[in-house]
């Protein structure tokens, strides 16, 4: 129940959206997030989008991890 999963927005209608988790479509309330459009990723929890997932930050994290990787290789 603490379960929150990344979900891709498939359609938006007012303050509700349809999102896809592995192809299965769920309903998500958008009341707690802003500027969410089709194709964006949100964190889905108990029928609501609790956050929009930030692509830049995710990439940054990966870059940091890869740095660790590169320093190891030296």
């Amino acid at each position: 129940m603490c379960l929150s999963v990344p979900a891709r927005v498939v359609s938006v209608s007012g303050d509700m959206a349809e999102v896809s988790v592995g192809g299965a479509i769920f309903s998500a309330g958008l009341q707690m997030v802003e500027n969410v459009g089709v194709g964006d990723y949100v964190l889905l929890h108990a029928g609501f989008a609790i956050e929009k997932l930030n692509e830049e930050d995710a990439l940054e994290t990966l870059r940091l991890l890869k740095e660790i990787d590169d320093t190891m290789a030296e």
Binding site: M1, L3, A46
Partner: protein, 361 residues
């Protein structure tokens, strides 16, 4: 970018494990307080990747586990009132109350329905005006805003057949209680999704007041290992802080909108956490403005409030003082089939995780 696969890359995982090994200079105990972390740690075999000397223990991270038995009794009592339907998350169905679970009640004819969200419960109320729908509102700060949004919608609609039986709780006071309780902890793997809502600032009391390390962590193996590395460095360098590892979802201030909803519908109150006792400001209660949606106020349900004698040590497990295998009921009288305590029922419970992954060691 799919947000899952990239964070599992094997090489990254092995490199992190290596870095951890090199950074360790003694013994460390870290507690996680989120059921999702409990499950992820054991599922990905994190303990096997760590060098000896690092101990990971589970705290009260499972909202289902810390819900009082009497809450289940109340829901069952409500469900048997004719014209009332109880709507609940699936995880609650098998939790034992003092005299049976919701699942058993349903088999006897009670109107109990599994829903994916509070909103779905509201939709049931919308579709049948003669039915009084009671939503079982459990969960931490991740879930409470959703309930709040729904209550506000119900209010705006003037809905008279929608109620919630409230058992929402908040994390930081419980964590503080555990620290004060004297468990030897060096740092916390902080909840990832609660902090999406509250922001990392909610946990700043941990380093500031108690000088313990803390890192807000994601749920993939790379997230967890990175966080452990960060925790170790905080401890080694004696500079406890609240670092955000899960920065693709969490900020310092959190989700303001969600907080606003939560504060609009709820206010803090003392709450009983199963196994931990009453925690000051550890729960949420409905504000007077929305009292008409509170099932506790609108229905007259009498349930016995007796503490049953039991050998179940869920309380100690939730506090991180003992581990599931130390409980005499574990895997004998208490199994996922016939659970004695809530820690065995929920898949975020420590005992259930232990049963699933470590029973045959």
């Amino acid at each position: 970018m799919k947000y899952v696969d990239e964070f599992r890359e094997r090489k990254l995982i092995m490199n992190l494990a290596d870095q951890i090994r090199r950074s360790v200079t003694g013994e460390y105990t870290f507690m996680e307080v989120c059921g999702g972390h409990t499950a992820a740690i054991h599922r990905f075999g994190i303990p096997s990747l760590l060098p000896p000397g690092i101990r990971l223990i589970s705290g009260p991270g499972c909202p289902v586990c810390v819900t009082a038995e009497t809450y289940i009794d109340e829901l069952i009592a409500l469900s048997f009132i004719s014209g009332v339907a109880v709507a609940t998350f699936g995880d609650l169905m098998r939790i034992p109350g003092t005299a049976g679970s919701l699942s058993e009640a349903r088999a006897e004819g009670a109107d109990i329905r599994v829903v994916l969200s509070a909103y779905e419960a509201l939709e049931i109320a919308r579709s049948d005006h003669d039915l009084r729908v009671v939503f079982a509102a459990i969960g931490f700060e991740t879930t409470a805003p959703g309930t709040a949004v729904t209550v506000l919608k119900a209010d705006a609609e003037g809905r008279e057949n929608f109620f919630i039986l409230n058992a929402h709780k908040v994390m930081p006071p419980a964590m503080e209680e555990i620290i004060k309780g004297g468990s030897q902890i060096d740092g916390f793997i902080c909840p990832g999704h609660v902090s999406v809502i509250t922001g990392s600032s909610a946990f700043e009391f941990i380093p500031r007041k108690y000088k313990l390390a803390s890192v807000i962590t994601g749920f993939e193996p790379t997230d967890i290992l990175s966080s452990i590395l960060m925790l170790i460095r905080q401890v080694n360098n004696h500079n406890p802080a609240v670092e955000i590892q899960y920065n693709r979802a969490v900020t310092r201030t959190g989700n303001i909108k969600a907080q606003a909803y939560m504060n609009e519908a709820f206010e803090p109150c003392d709450a009983g956490w199963r196994g931990l006792g009453v925690i000051a400001a550890g729960g949420l209660r409905m504000r007077d403005k929305y009292k008409s949606f509170d099932a506790g106020a609108s229905f007259n349900i009498e349930v016995a409030h007796n503490e049953t004698e039991t050998a179940c040590i869920c309380g100690d497990i939730l506090r991180g003082i003992r581990t599931p295998d130390e409980c005499i009921l574990f895997a004998s009288a208490c199994t996922p089939h016939h659970p004695s305590g809530a820690c065995m029922v929920s898949d975020e419970g420590a005992c259930n995780t232990w049963y699933k992954y470590h029973l045959h060691e």
